[in-house]
C-alpha cells in the first residue's frame, strides 16, 4: 500500500484479485450481466478468479457449463443478441480453438452481415500464455489471431489496474471484446489505485519513458520488458517501454510517436515469432515511419516450437529480460 499525506492512494493486490473485483463490480452494477463457463461457479474458476462469486450472486448469475466450448460461447453470443451482457470464460486459450467458429464466423460478422441491425455486446475472458510448464497443449499465445479479425476487440491487461478496470470498459462496448488474462500473472501483485474503475481501452501506454530505444510489449511480455529497461538503465541506456494494452484496434500512433523520438525499436511477445502480433507492429512502423529507424528492428518472441514441458526448455523458449536488454543494445551498437 502506498501511503501519502491524504491517506493511501493505492493498495497492493494480485492480478487474480483484481480480475475478481472487476467481475464482482460488473455483476453488482448491472443485472443483465452474468458469468458462464466451465467451473466458474462451484469450483471457483480453474485459476481461482471467480472464487466466491457463486455464493455472492447465485447460480443464475454465475453459471457452470458442461465441457462444450462451441455451445456456451455461441450461447453467449445469442444471449448478447437477446439483450443480456454475458461474460463467458474459456478456461484456457487452447480450448478457445473449439469455439473459433462461433467467435470468428458469428460474433465478428453478425453486425456486418445484418447491415448494422444486430450487435453482440459479449465479453469473453480467456486465460492464456506460457510460463507454468503446462506444455504443448496449454501454453499457447494466440491473441494475435483474434487481433486479425475485424469486428472483434482484443485487450490484454498487463497491470493490476488494467486487470481491474478493463472488464467494465469491455462490458460497455456494444461489440464483442476478448480479454486475455495471463495465467502466469494471476499470482503476481501490483499497486492498484484505490479510486480504480473503468479504464480506457483505446490507447497504448508508455509504462516507462525513455530516450534511447523503444521496447514494445503487452500482456505477458510487459514485465520482462520493464525488467530489461532496469538492466539497460544500469548500463546507462534509457529505454522507453510501451504496453500495447489493446491489440485490436491497435494504437500504433503511440508506438510511432515513441520511435520518432528513440529511432530504435525492440518488440517482444510470447507468441511464436513468425506471424505473431509483433509482426504487425513492425509492419506499421516500416510503412509509416521507416525513415525514423536508425537501426534494424529487433523482434523477440517464443522459439518456433510447441512449448516443451521442462522448465529449462520452457524458459529458453521465451524472451527474458536479459535477452531483451541484449537486443536493445544491438540496436544501439
Amino acid at each position: 500500500m502506498t501511503i501519502t499525506a491524504g491517506g493511501p492512494t493505492t493498495r497492493t493486490t494480485t492480478f487474480r484479485e483484481a480480475f475478481r473485483e472487476g467481475l464482482r463490480e460488473a455483476l453488482a452494477a448491472d443485472d443483465r450481466v452474468f458469468l458462464i463457463g466451465e467451473d466458474v461457479g462451484r469450483y471457483g474458476g480453474c485459476f481461482g478468479v471467480s472464487q466466491g462469486l457463486l455464493d455472492e450472486f447465485g447460480p443464475d448469475r454465475v453459471q457452470d457449463t458442461p465441457l462444450s466450448e462451441s455451445a456456451f460461447v455461441g450461447a453467449g453470443i445469442g444471449a448478447a443478441l437477446g439483450g443480456t451482457r454475458p461474460i463467458v470464460e474459456i478456461m484456457t486459450v487452447n480450448f478457445a480453438l473449439l469455439a473459433l467458429d462461433q467467435i470468428v464466423n458469428t460474433a465478428a460478422t453478425l453486425r456486418h452481415m445484418s447491415g448494422g441491425q444486430l450487435g453482440v455486446p459479449l465479453v469473453i475472458r480467456i486465460p492464456t500464455g506460457p510460463g507454468r510448464q503446462l506444455a504443448a497443449q496449454h501454453s499457447h499465445t494466440l491473441e494475435g489471431w483474434f487481433a486479425h479479425v475485424p469486428g472483434l476487440r482484443v485487450v490484454t491487461p498487463a497491470t493490476v489496474t488494467d486487470a481491474r478496470g478493463m472488464l467494465a470498459t469491455a462490458l460497455a462496448d456494444p461489440d464483442p471484446v476478448l480479454v486475455f488474462e495471463q495465467i502466469a500473472l494471476y499470482g503476481a501483485s501490483g499497486e492498484l489505485p484505490v479510486a480504480g474503475g473503468a479504464v480506457d481501452l483505446d490507447r497504448a501506454a508508455v509504462r516507462r519513458p525513455g530516450r534511447d530505444v523503444t521496447v514494445v510489449g503487452y500482456g505477458g511480455s510487459l514485465a520482462p520488458a520493464l525488467e530489461a529497461a532496469d538492466l539497460l538503465a544500469a548500463g546507462g541506456v534509457s529505454a522507453e517501454v510501451v504496453d500495447l494494452r489493446t491489440l485490436r484496434p491497435l494504437d500504433s500512433a503511440t508506438v510511432l510517436e515513441s520511435v520518432t523520438r528513440t529511432h530504435r525499436l525492440v518488440v517482444v511477445d510470447n507468441a511464436w515469432r513468425s506471424g505473431g502480433p509483433m509482426a504487425e507492429v513492425v509492419a506499421r512502423v516500416a510503412e509509416e515511419a521507416l525513415d525514423e529507424l536508425d537501426a534494424a528492428v529487433e523482434r523477440m518472441g517464443a522459439a518456433e516450437v510447441p512449448l516443451p514441458y521442462p522448465r529449462h526448455l520452457e524458459e529458453a523458449a521465451l524472451p527474458s529480460a536479459d535477452r531483451i536488454a541484449a537486443a536493445a543494445r544491438r540496436t544501439l551498437a
Partner: protein, 321 residues
C-alpha cells in the same frame, strides 16, 4: 402469426414461397443474384407450418436455405430481393445476400452459412429470454446434415440441461448436399437421437403444413411452459438441387418423382378443394397474386440503390455517434 385454423393462409404462404423460389432461380441464371443460392422448393410446408406456430415476440434462427422462413416470418419480398441484388434497401442492407437474411424487428436472426452454426446462437437467445423472464420461445431451424456436427450435440445438451425455451426444428430433407442420410448418420432416426438428451422429440410429416403447424404449436407451448426444449424432425424433401451449382448427380430420378407426388402445395390444395375451401381457380389465383407481388418486388429491388463504396467498412463495429 397465422390463425391456427387457417389452412388457406398456409396454402397462400406456400404458394408465395414456391413462386418466390422459382423466380430466384431465374434471376440467378440471369446473373442478377450471385454467390451461393439454396432454394427450398418442396420444403414449403416446413417454413409455413413452423413459422405459423410462433408469435411475433418469439425468435427465429435459420440457415442459408432460409428464403421460405423469411417470407413466412413476414419479411417483404422486396426487402429479400433487394438483399439478393446487393442493394442498400435489402433486409441486410445488401451486405449479406441470399445466405444472410436478417430482420431484427421481426426477431429473425439470420441466415447462417455455417452448418449448425446457428444452433448455439439460438440456444443463447433462449437463455436470454429465460434469464430476463420473458415468455418467448426461439425456433431454431437446421438440416439433417447439421445433426452430425458437434455444435448440434453440445447445444442440445445445454438446452436440455438448462431447460431452455427453444424448439429445435430439423428440416430432414434426407440429404446434406450429395450425402444421403444413411451415408451421414449411423442412426438415421434423428428424433431418437435428440431424445437421448432427455427432451421431447418426435417426427412429423414435413410435407403437410397443417401437421407441421400443429406439432410446432405443441412444441412451442411445451417450451413456453418451462418444460424444456423440444425437437421436431420434419421429414421433407428438396425438389431442386442443393444449390444452383449442383448438378444433382447423386439422387435417383425415381426417388425425386416419388417425393414430388407428395408435393405439399398440391396436397393442401387438394384438401382445401375437397373441403370446399378453395374453388377450382383458387390456386391459380393465388399464384397470380404471388406473381404480381413478385413483379412489383423485383422492379422495386432493381430500382433500389447500391451502397456507396465509401461506406465499405461501415457496420463492422459500432460507429461512434
Amino acid at each position: 402469426m397465422t390463425d391456427p385454423r387457417d389452412p388457406l393462409a398456409l396454402l397462400t404462404l406456400m404458394v408465395r414461397i414456391r413462386r418466390f423460389e422459382e423466380r430466384c432461380a431465374g434471376l440467378y441464371s440471369a446473373g442478377a443474384i450471385r454467390g451461393f443460392l439454396h432454394l427450398c422448393v418442396g420444403e414449403e410446408a416446413v417454413a409455413a407450418g413452423v413459422l405459423a406456430a410462433l408469435g411475433p415476440d418469439d425468435a427465429v434462427v435459420s440457415t442459408y436455405r432460409e428464403h421460405g422462413h423469411a417470407l413466412a416470418r413476414g419479411i417483404p419480398m422486396t426487402a429479400l430481393l433487394a438483399e439478393m441484388f446487393g442493394r442498400a434497401t435489402g433486409c441486410s442492407r445488401g451486405r449479406g445476400g441470399s445466405m444472410h437474411l436478417f430482420d431484427a424487428e421481426r426477431r429473425f436472426y439470420g441466415g447462417n452459412a455455417i452448418v449448425a452454426g446457428g444452433i448455439p446462437l439460438a440456444t443463447g437467445l433462449a437463455l436470454a429470454d429465460r434469464y430476463r423472464n420473458r415468455p418467448h420461445v426461439t425456433a431454431c431451424l437446421f438440416g439433417d446434415g447439421a445433426v452430425a456436427e458437434g455444435e448440434f450435440h453440445e447445444s442440445l445438451n445445454l438446452a436440455a440441461l438448462w431447460r431452455l425455451p427453444i424448439v429445435f426444428c430439423c428440416e430432414n430433407n434426407r440429404y446434406a448436399m450429395g450425402t444421403s442420410l444413411a451415408r451421414s448418420h449411423a442412426e438415421t432416426d434423428l428424433a431418437l437421437r435428440a431424445g437421448s438428451y432427455g427432451m421431447r422429440a418426435w417426427a412429423v410429416d414435413g410435407m403437410d403444413a397443417v401437421a407441421v403447424q400443429e406439432a410446432t404449436a405443441l412444441a412451442v407451448d411445451t417450451a413456453r411452459a418451462g418444460a424444456g426444449p423440444c425437437f421436431l424432425e420434419l421429414q421433407t424433401y428438396r425438389f431442386r438441387a442443393h444449390s444452383m451449382y449442383d448438378a444433382d448427380r447423386y439422387r435417383d430420378r425415381a426417388e425425386i418423382d416419388a417425393w414430388r407426388q407428395r408435393d405439399p402445395i398440391d396436397r393442401l390444395a387438394a384438401t382445401l378443394v375437397a373441403d370446399g375451401l378453395l374453388d377450382a381457380g383458387g390456386r391459380a389465383a393465388l399464384e397470380a397474386a404471388a406473381d404480381a407481388e413478385l413483379d412489383a418486388a423485383v422492379a422495386a429491388a432493381e430500382a433500389a440503390p447500391l451502397e456507396p463504396v465509401a461506406d465499405l467498412t461501415r457496420y463492422v463495429t459500432t460507429e461512434a455517434s
